[in-house]
Every structure is written in C-alpha cells, then in structure tokens.
C-alpha cells in the first residue's frame, strides 16, 4: 500500500437550497484530508467542519458506500463519479487527488433528474421506467416450475447478469451529452431479453419502457459511448444495440 498522507484541497461545490431556489458554486478549503479516505469521507470531513462553524452542511446522496446501492452520484471535476473508471463515487479514494488540487463537485444534470438540494437529485424517473415494464409478469406464489427445468446457456446467463449488474445510479444520463438513459434502459431490456423467462413478454416490455423513457424527458442516444466509459459497472453498449434491435422487432410486429 502506498502510505497514506494528508493533502489540502479546494472544493468548488454546487449549493442549492431546494428544488425551486437558484443555486451557485461555493468554494471551500479543506485541510488534512487523508489519501486513504474515500471521496465521501472527505465530504463527511467537510460537513463536520461546516457544522463546527455552524454553517449548513452539504447535502449529498449516499448509502451503502461499497459501490452497489447506486445511491451516490456527483459530477467530480467534469466526470460522473470522478476520475477513476469503473468506480462509484463512494469507492473513489482521495489518493487519486494531489495536494493543492481544486475539485469541482456538481449534481447530475438532467431535465429528468431535477435537483432536490445541493448535490441531491431526484432519480425516480428510473423507477417509473422500471414500473412500465422492467419485470417478468409472474406472481410470487413460489409455485412456478423447478428452477432447473429450463436450462439457460451459460453464455446467455452471464450476459444477462452483466446487464443486470446495473446499479441505477444515473451516471450514464449525467455523462451523456444528450442526457440519454439508453444504457440504463438497454441494460434492463437486455437482461430479460437474454433469458427464456423474460422473452415471453419482450415485445410489450421494450415498447412500454421506451415510451416511458421518452416521456420522462431523457435525450436521445447518439452513440458517443460516454455512458459505457463512465458506467461504474462497465455495462456494455451492446445492451443499447440489443434494445434497438428489440425495439425494431417489436415495432414491426
């Protein structure tokens, strides 16, 4: 392990009182940040400092802090989840920064993700897309067929899993210059399209999810590929292509 050291940094953080208020970037100095700290622990440290100064701490979303719940966000120095690839903000560590650095921290910017406060945004649009069709219509009786009754090729199961690894953080939307949610929706559509259990209602699913996605005000995909690069789970663009394919197929039916 490269030995941890302490660094001093300048933070430029978007502050916004609530959804209706106008926000602005504020500057904060923070000293003695351990490089072994995670980025969010650095923000904890800032908030502790603000509270001690009787100032209002910075609101940001976070929960599991192990890169799986998808609650953390933050546009750090112009990149979703910061400079590291394949990493959520909570797993980004301060060793990626240097003494004297200035770090910009902004909320996800998307019409479909309105700012709630400071760095917190509302991502319920993703929930609504899921509600439109991101499921297999099977009741939870437990009285289905045996789990091994339909063999699933390992290759398909693995691809489905890779798509299903999406954590719904919204980095794809945040980083896409068009604010498109195609990677998120494509991953969900793909997971089910790849499995025999999901194929049954594939047509309706893709039409409904895409309709909801458009209604939410996300932009269109122009295949810049930024989402794939910034996705903390490395969800592949292949999933978008698969959704396009599924959508074409469904539209022609």
């Amino acid at each position: 392990m490269s030995a941890a050291k302490n660094i001093n940094i300048t933070l430029k953080i978007w502050r916004q009182k609530n959804a209706k208020a106008k926000g602005q970037i504020e500057t904060y100095k923070l000293d003695n940040v351990s490089t072994a700290s995670s980025f969010l622990e650095m923000l904890d440290q800032l908030n502790e400092q603000l509270i001690n100064e009787k100032k209002e701490p910075v609101a940001f979303d976070h929960d599991c802090r192990e890169g799986i719940c998808g609650m953390c966000s933050l546009y750090i120095n112009g990149r979703a989840h910061g400079p590291d690839t394949g990493t959520t903000t909570c797993q980004l560590h301060m060793r990626k920064f240097n003494d004297g650095d200035t770090i910009y921290i902004e909320p996800w910017r998307s019409k479909a993700f309105p700012v709630v406060k400071d760095l917190v945004v509302d991502r319920s649009a993703f929930d609504r897309i899921q509600q439109a069709g991101g499921f297999v219509s099977v009741n939870t009786s437990g009285r289905t067929i045996d789990a091994n009754a339909i063999p699933v090729p390992k290759h398909d199961a693995d691809r489905a899993f890779e798509a299903a690894a999406c954590i719904g953080c919204g980095a794809c939307v945040a980083t896409c210059k068009n604010g498109s949610a195609m990677l998120f929706v494509g991953a969900k559509v793909s997971q089910y399209a790849l499995l025999p259990q999901g194929k049954v209602e594939a047509t309706q699913r893709v039409l409904n999810m895409v309709r909801q996605m458009d209604e939410e005000g996300f932009g269109n995909c122009t295949n810049t590929g930024a989402c794939e690069v910034e996705c903390p789970k490395g969800i592949s663009l292949e999933n978008i292509a698969r959704m396009n394919r599924e959508y074409l197929k469904a539209s022609l039916k």
Binding site: F135, T140, N148, A164, Y192
Partner: protein, 669 residues
C-alpha cells in the same frame, strides 16, 4: 406478559402445511377494502409488498432511500441457501434445518427454522422465474458453492452480487405492482412512529424527507421490514442509512425486543484505516472457499510486517500459522462466522496482527494455494498435462478473476493493493444482527397487527447466522410467510372500514414526533451527531463487541446512559424541519441507537453464557471455545420498554424447546 409463540402442534415437517391449511383467508373481493403498510423495501419488505399487492390489498410501501432498489439487501455478496440438493451431496430440508439450528448455537426456534428450510427451494424457483440471472454451469443448470458452517454445496449465487440480483428481482415484482396501481410507493419517507388504536397497530407517522412534512398513514396492518441495527457500532458493513428507528419505535409502543446482544461479527472485512473512516467493507465469505487465513507464527515476523520491513509473500510456508485449519481441521477455513472472527481476534490480541493501524488488527486471507490448485486443474482441462509454473499461475489467477473478479477489484480500489499478488488483509467487523423485534410463529410482534420481517425480527438465526441465510430468510418471510399470516389477521378486519387519521391517537403520535424534531433543532449544542455516534460506537465495539465480560458490560451500560444525556444536551443539529436535512435524520436515528446500545449491553450482561456471536469471556473452555449453558439460558430474551430510562426495561423469557433436534455442543473440529 405471557409470550405465546403460537407454534402449531404436530410433527415438525407438517407444522407449516397444517398451519397454512387452517389459517383464515380474505376473499378477493374484500382485499381492496384493506390497507397494509410496509416499512422498508429490502428483500423482506419488497417481497412482502409485492406479494400483498398481487393478492389485491391496498399496499403503501415506505423507504428512506430515493428508490426501493437501494435497500441494503443489495449489498449481500455471497449467495442464498436453498435445500435443492442439485449437487447430490446429501442436502435436504432436514439438513438445512439442522445446520441452521446448529449454526445458531441452539438459540433459535425449531418450528420457524424448519419452515425456512421448507420454503427455501421455492425461493430459487421463484427468483429464476422472475429473471434473476444466477450463475450457471455449461450445461445450463444452476451452479452452487459452499459456505461456512455447512458440508454441502447449497448456495446459489450471482458472482459476488447475489443480494443485488435478488433485491432487483423483488424490486421488479414490486415495480410491477406499483405500475398496476396496487402498491403506492413512498420514497424518501422515514417512519418515525407507530400509531396504535385500541391496542392494534393502525398506522404510522412518516416524515417526507424532502419537504420535512409529517404525514399520517393509516392501515389495517403494519409490516416492519427495516433491517438490522449494526450501525449502533458506527463502523459496520451496514449502509450509512441503515438504522433501528422503525423497529425501535415499535418497541417503544409496546413490542418486545429480543436477543439484542446477538450480533454477528463477520470475519472477512477490510481492516480500519483511520479516524475519518465512515464504514467497513465486507469481502464475501465465499472467499473463504478459496482463501486460507493465516498470521505469522513468530511475533517478530508480525512486527516486521507491520513496520513494512517484511512482505507477507516473503514468509516461508513453515513460518505461517493457518490458525483456522490448525484449530478446526474438519471445517478449516469454512467454520461459521463467529468462530472465525473470534479466532482472528485471539491471534491479534496475542500480538500476531499484521495491519499497521492503531490496534494492529488484521490477518491475511491468502489465495496463492488456490491459484496453484485451480491453475493446474485449468491447464489439465485444456489438455496441458505439464504446465510450467507461469502457466499455472496465470490460469489460476484467471480462474480467481472469473469467480471473484468484482470483489478483488473492490479490494484493490479501497486498499490500493493487488490481492492476486499479495494476500488480502482482513479483520472481523459488525455485519448482521440476529436480534430484533420479538415475533410469534406468524411473524406478528406483541402488538396485534404489527408484523416484523427479515433482519428486523429475531426469529430464525438464533445466536449466529450462517452465511447465505439472510437472503433466504428475507425472501421467505416476504414471499411465502407473511401473505398467509397477515391475511389470517386481516380476515377479522373486513368489516372495519377505512381507518381515520383524525383520531387522537394519530394526533398524539404526530405531536410527539414533532416535539422530538423541534427539540433537536432548538438544541443549542456544539457537537455534531457523528461525534456522539462515533463515541457510542467505540463503547459498543470495545465492551459489547466480539468478546464481552461483566465488568465491561456494566461500564458500557453506565457510559451509554451518560452519553445519551450528554447527547441530548450537547448535540447541534443545523438546518430546519421543513427541508431535506440529513443531520436531523441522523440525530433521530442516533437517539434510538443510544437506547438500543444500552439495552444490548444489558442483554449481554444477563446472558451468563457464551453462544454464537455472544462471547462472554467468563464462559469459555480451556481451548477458548464457547461454553453454552442450556439449563439456564435456553430462552429468547424479550425486553419490554418502560420509558426513557432504558435500565428499567423488563426482561421476559420465551423458553426454547428442542423436540426434534437433540441439543448438543457445537463442534466444528
């Protein structure tokens, strides 16, 4: 108070079936007239909400996160147990039942655990039908791995993200019901009180975390599925928001709280790095399938390693102490979690710890043997019967990457060390809480109409939970138990009609919540909530942690009571009540942790034995193994709230009867 566990009569294997056959039903045309509240959307909550919604009840589901998909069940890594016996290695419902009772150190209810084992196979069928992408073999069949405390392969998994896949499965079922209008979802809402009318649970007070508004929600039944309370230790593998508040409010309204001292310390977590650390990260127990745990045999080697003068890879095989393999040859590195954790603590207490932090607490989890074994197997499978050492290593690392790639990547991100090259450093950390709200066989608490599911209840894991059993229990409760037992309760509610939120009971509950919020905001303190939470955590870890003793526990009780008073006097909560205010949320949660922490210490103090995760230093054998006292402590403790002073809580006991399993010493040697 008489505790009636309502365990059905009859042979163990028929109890649940018979019971189900005699439960009352609610006809489909009556279900839309009935409201059910579900608090929490993890595996238990989401599956319960989805199932009840499907049945036709009006369900209102609440979560404090921005989406139900964020619940901390998502972080479970290793897998889910089910008695499918797909591997043909002698597994059965009975074996899973037996392993779970034994793993829980004979402190769980037989009937509940058997039901859990019975429905376990349905869970896998259900999840596959929902499109959960479990790992598969090349033939297209489901793959299994083995976990601690068992000698069969019954764990189903999806890489190191099984909890995520299962939760997203339950979330998809829940989303379907939301889309159909049968479940109303309340994101970013926190339950802050339970409302009782005429002794029955009739609703909750929830705070809209965005607007700060206090909302009254009524229902004919309330299900609490709010997870565990590991965050009482401040540092744990729980999510930052995981809290005891919903469960504790129920407790304060009269539900008994059981076995609070039963806490699982998970052996394989990344060690603490510094004072600003906010949480601990788990490395899945599945890694113990492939890794060997060791510390240096000689203290001077441990010292040299801590000082950075010696690398673990330089230490010769004969200078390493594989202490789990040495002490427990039958199970080796796969002993249950409590056993593995204590063994690591024992070595570190003796001065063999290898981590260069304040406490030197850390041991190695080494994959080099597995790299060689699997590499050789892989080479052989490719037809290369004389692989070079390099080929073997390369293939072995590839195998590891396929199996645990995401965990290894996570480890490297956090520690900046490459676990393919150098052994992982791990140390036990608080992970799961077996204790929780007392419930009967129907998962109903001592408040009629208030059901508790998943980690929030105490029911299935006794004094120690086996790996991959938490996911099983959460889904079993939500999908396969609550729909029956809640309906049974609701059968008497079809004539009740809509419950008004204008009653004095709702007003009283809302007022008391508002008073506690205003108290915090008006407090002219000077210290942050985290300041107190960290201090509470330190007391808990040092005195109510992996090893406890009478003196420490008595100190802890006094210290926590004092800390609680100081907290109410000195805490500073910025901001206002009518906005998104994370500090206020934390303050309300920490207040409940203060109460709970003290109760945990009291519970640990009264339990004069060692069992499972509860290790009292006074009760151990010559080899340092736990000494259970079945004559005096084969009971579930159930505490009754008696007001602000927690030391006044009253202890009730539910005796545990073992009719089908012969109670025996727990031996993994």
């Amino acid at each position: 108070m008489k505790l009636d566990s309502k365990i059905p009569e009859g042979p163990i294997a028929e109890k649940w079936t018979n019971h189900k056959n005699h439960l009352k039903l609610v006809a489909p045309n009556n279900r839309p007239k009935i409201d059910v509240i579900v608090v929490g959307t993890g595996l238990a909550g989401a599956s319960a909400a989805a199932s009840l919604g499907e049945m036709g009840y009006n369900v209102k589901a609440f979560c404090f996160q921005d989406s139900p998909r964020r619940a901390h069940s998502i972080a479970a890594q290793g897998g889910i147990n089910a008695a499918k016996n797909y591997q043909n290695d002698g597994d059965s419902t009975y074996r899973l039942f037996y392993d779970t009772i034994k793993g829980g150190d004979y402190r769980a209810r037989e009937a509940n655990v058997h039901r859990l084992a019975e429905v376990s196979a349905n869970i896998i069928d259900q999840c596959v039908a929902q499109g959960v992408p479990f790992a598969r073999e090349y033939g297209g069949m489901l793959d299994n791995r083995s976990f601690g405390g068992t000698q069969v392969q019954r764990t189903f998994y999806a890489a190191g993200q099984t909890g995520q896949q299962l939760l997203l499965g339950a979330y998809s079922a829940l989303s379907r019901q939301v889309g159909l209008g049968r479940v109303q979802m309340f994101n970013r809402h926190e339950m802050l009180d339970l409302v009782k009318v005429d002794g029955k649970a009739r609703g909750i007070i929830a705070r809209n975390l965005i607007t700060g508004e206090l909302e009254r929600h009524s229902a004919h039944a309330v299900i609490i599925a709010s997870g565990g309370y590991g965050n009482v230790y401040f540092l744990s593998t729980n999510a930052m928001g995981s809290n005891v508040t919903a469960a504790w409010k129920v407790h304060k309204r009269g539900a008994l709280f059981s076995n609070p001292c039963f806490v699982q310390i998970h052996p394989t977590c990344i060690p603490v790095h510094g004072v600003n650390q906010s949480k601990l990260t788990l490395m899945s127990e599945s890694l113990r399938n492939s890794g060997r745990i060791w510390v240096p045999k000689k203290k001077e080697d441990a010292e040299a390693i801590r000082a950075g003068k010696l690398k673990p890879t330089q230490l010769k095989e004969e200078d390493r102490d594989y202490f789990l393999e040495r002490r427990y040859p039958a199970f080796g590195n796969l002993v249950p979690r409590d056993v593995a954790s204590r063994a690591a603590k024992e070595r570190c207490d003796e001065g063999f710890g290898i981590e260069a932090n304040d406490t030197n607490e850390g041991v190695y989890l080494d994959f080099s043997t597995e790299i060689q074994n699997k590499g050789r197997q892989a080479a052989y499978a490719q037809g290369n019967h004389n692989p070079s050492a390099e080929e073997v290593t390369k293939l072995g690392k590839k195998w590891l990457e396929e199996k645990y790639g995401n965990l290894f990547a996570m480890y490297e991100k956090i520690t900046d060390e490459n676990p393919y090259e150098t052994p992982m450093k791990i140390y036990p950390a608080v992970h799961y809480t077996m204790g929780g709200v007392w419930v009967d066989y129907n998962l109903q608490s001592s408040i009629p109409g208030c059901f508790v599911a998943g980690e929030a209840n105490f029911s299935d894991h006794g004094a120690n939970r086996l790996g991959a059993s938490a996911l099983m229990q959460g889904l079993a409760d939500g999908y396969f138990v609550l729909p029956y037992t809640v309906s049974n309760y609701l059968a008497d509610e079809i004539r009740t009609g809509k419950i008004s939120t204008d009653s004095p009971e709702f007003a009283e509950a809302e007022d008391s919540v508002r008073a506690s919020i205003n108290k915090f905001l008006g407090n002219n303190g000077s210290k942050s909530v985290d300041h107190f939470h960290k201090r509470l955590g330190l007391i808990m870890w040092n005195k109510v942690g992996m090893a406890r003793n009478e003196k420490g526990l008595k100190e802890a009780i006094a210290e926590i009571a004092a800390l609680k008073d100081e907290f109410y006097k000195e805490v500073y909560v910025p901001g206002s009540a009518d906005e998104l205010n994370p500090e206020l949320e934390k303050a309300l949660r920490v207040a409940d942790f203060m109460d709970l922490g003290q109760l945990m210490a009291m519970d640990a103090l009264q339990r004069n034995e060692s069992c499972g995760g509860h290790f009292r230093e006074e009760y151990q054998d010559a080899e340092g193994e736990t000494l259970r006292d079945d004559d005096n402590f084969a009971f579930v403790s159930a505490w009754e709230y008696m007001g602000y002073d927690i030391s006044k809580e009253m202890l009730h006991k539910e005796e545990l009867k073992y009719e089908f399993i012969k109670i025996a010493a727990r031996n993994y040697k």
